[in-house]
């Protein structure tokens, strides 16, 4: 138990160097000795010490991953993609969850540095933080995922949050909706949510629909929050006829608020989300949303990170993956008559 290269060497009657060699370049050691070493390893119950290797080679063969919430299947999926890719290269990924707290984020980055990760994949909750500059200065390998705010200096892989939001709002408008609300994740915590709002706002503007700020409410990215937000929206004197949620969690929460009021989706109100998590196609009614390729997002990011770490790539990589509007049954054409009546009935 707990045997080292030294023990193996003694047992096999060779030097520690050759033991090291049978581990790292077996072809350079004579077959016979290689085999005695191998059996010596078995017998002594040797297990390799990655830590010592890292110290000696100054390569940890590990990268850090920082996500806002591993509980969100989008990030969980990406994690899988990252891990799969990393493993292909013999790398381990060290995961940290920030809970959308940038203080925690900074601490995690520090912890990962102390563990000598060779690179970082991160979706940051605070796009304008000091350590970002530091990454740049020390040109430490970092690739951002999901974030959309760094156009210039950094590597990132993401989707076009602005355009995708624009597109889904356009779809809503084409269905006849004019009074369109938005339940957004907090802008200061999620640049994606902000970008989606921008798409929302621009699209309204382009279609001559006046913007009503009281129709957009910021919340945390959870179903309960979506529910609360929707309750608020439904209580308005002139509630929206459709609402765009910047996340499927919010959308599902919003839907439940609608049901609790005894209204129907999409007949009485249209709701759409963002992310297309697996569950969203199975709920009732199936949720209209925009699909992000979460697994691929992670995989691609890791690929790029590998190339950056290898020094093969120096100019900032800006990858926009394809998103896709997924039209299901949670949005319908506006029927002014019904909507008006129903709402009034309910309100008084």
């Amino acid at each position: 138990m707990g045997s080292t290269i030294k023990d193996v060497a003694r047992l096999a009657g060779v030097s520690i160097a050759t033991v090291s060699r049978v581990i790292n370049s077996p072809e350079t050691v004579k077959k016979e000795t290689r085999e005695t070493v191998l059996t010596a390893m078995k017998e002594s119950g040797y297990t390799y010490n990655t830590l010592a290797r890292s110290l000696s080679t100054r390569k940890s063969l590990s990268i850090g991953l920082i996500v806002p919430s591993i509980t969100n299947p989008i990030f969980a999926e990406s994690t899988l993609g990252i891990q799969d890719c990393a493993n292909n290269f013999g790398y381990t990924v060290l995961l940290g969850d920030t809970d959308y707290d940038f203080k925690k984020e900074a601490m995690l980055i520090n912890a990962l540095n102390e563990r000598r990760v060779e690179g970082l994949i991160i979706t940051t909750s605070s796009v304008s933080n000091p350590y970002l500059k530091k990454f740049k200065d020390e040109d430490f390998p970092v690739v951002f995922i999901y974030n959309t705010t760094f156009s210039e200096d950094f590597h990132f892989v993401t989707i076009d949050n602005f355009k995708s939001a624009y597109e889904i709002i356009k779809y809503l408008i084409e269905l006849g909706h004019k009074r369109i609300g938005m339940i957004a994740g907090y802008f200061d915590i999620s640049d994606r949510s902000y970008a989606r709002w921008q798409g929302y706002a621009q699209c309204l503007k382009d279609h001559g629909i006046p913007q009503d700020d009281s129709l957009v409410v910021q919340e945390s990215f959870t179903a309960p929050a979506g529910k609360e937000a929707m309750k608020y929206l439904l209580k308005m004197s002139k509630p929206p006829t459709a609402v765009f949620c910047s996340n499927d969690f919010l959308a599902i929460g919003a839907m439940s608020a609608v049901y609790e009021k005894g209204l129907k989706i999409p007949d009485d109100i249209s709701i759409c989300g963002f992310d297309n998590m697996e569950l969203s196609s199975h709920i009732y009614p199936p949720l209209t949303t925009v699909d992000q390729p979460a697994y691929e997002m992670g995989y691609r990011a890791m690929e790029i990170l590998m190339r950056v770490m290898a020094g093969e790539v120096t100019v900032p990589q800006h990858i926009f993956l394809d998103y896709k509007l997924i039209i299901r049954n949670s949005c319908s054409t506006l029927n002014l008559f019904t909507k008006g009546r129903k709402h009034e009935e309910k309100r008084f």
Copy 2:
């Protein structure tokens, strides 16, 4: 950049030992020198090297966590609990996802050993694997979560899967159901699913309801799988009037199959799940399920692991956390007349 304790020492004009001391036991070094060292650290951009510490002290201050699927919010939640607790003790957690593949599981365990984790929290997908014996023999600190099959030798924290399943089936029976199906996760991969099935079977037996094996179908733990399974069940000549799913994912998938057939929940068929993930209360209809305290599961497991690693505890800890039957609106009393009619209408 990349400065070491040695650089700091030189810069501050002290020995590396004192630098180490200001890091580990600042109170033992004179205030003045401490401060010069501290500023030297700043100036040289020193960042601590955990790897070297680990090598020297033979403590990695890290533990491994192995889950079947981080994409499942239950495991994600537990991960959070584990991480929070671990951080309180200055420990880092290294996460691995097995995708319910025990081959992958073995590889992960090995990888974690090479990284010299001091302990392991795991929900294993193969309860009867050789390395489990190894843990025992080498008495390596391991605590299992969610697994229910190790009554004797190991530490674990879980809920009583048998009893909880028994209870929810009893509830169904009290509602008048006799033809109760089950959509289960694969037994060979999930001992929990198997235990739940046992609870299901025992409860039927205790209530004099004959068991019909064609009513229980094993699947992977996903919504699409649940949907397929439900489709199969609905196609039977005598479909169940209620079905118990061993996971909320499966339940939600099952529900969508029901809707697609034009049937209503719970009027035409009752469905219940297991886990009580956050979303389950927000879907329509809100899902009847059993709640597992996922976060606490992780937190408690980590607490125990700490005590085991510290040698404070040697007799196997067997912790059963409280589960809770959560009755919502996806199950209703059996109405023989309606059910019969509707099914017949649909079938022909």
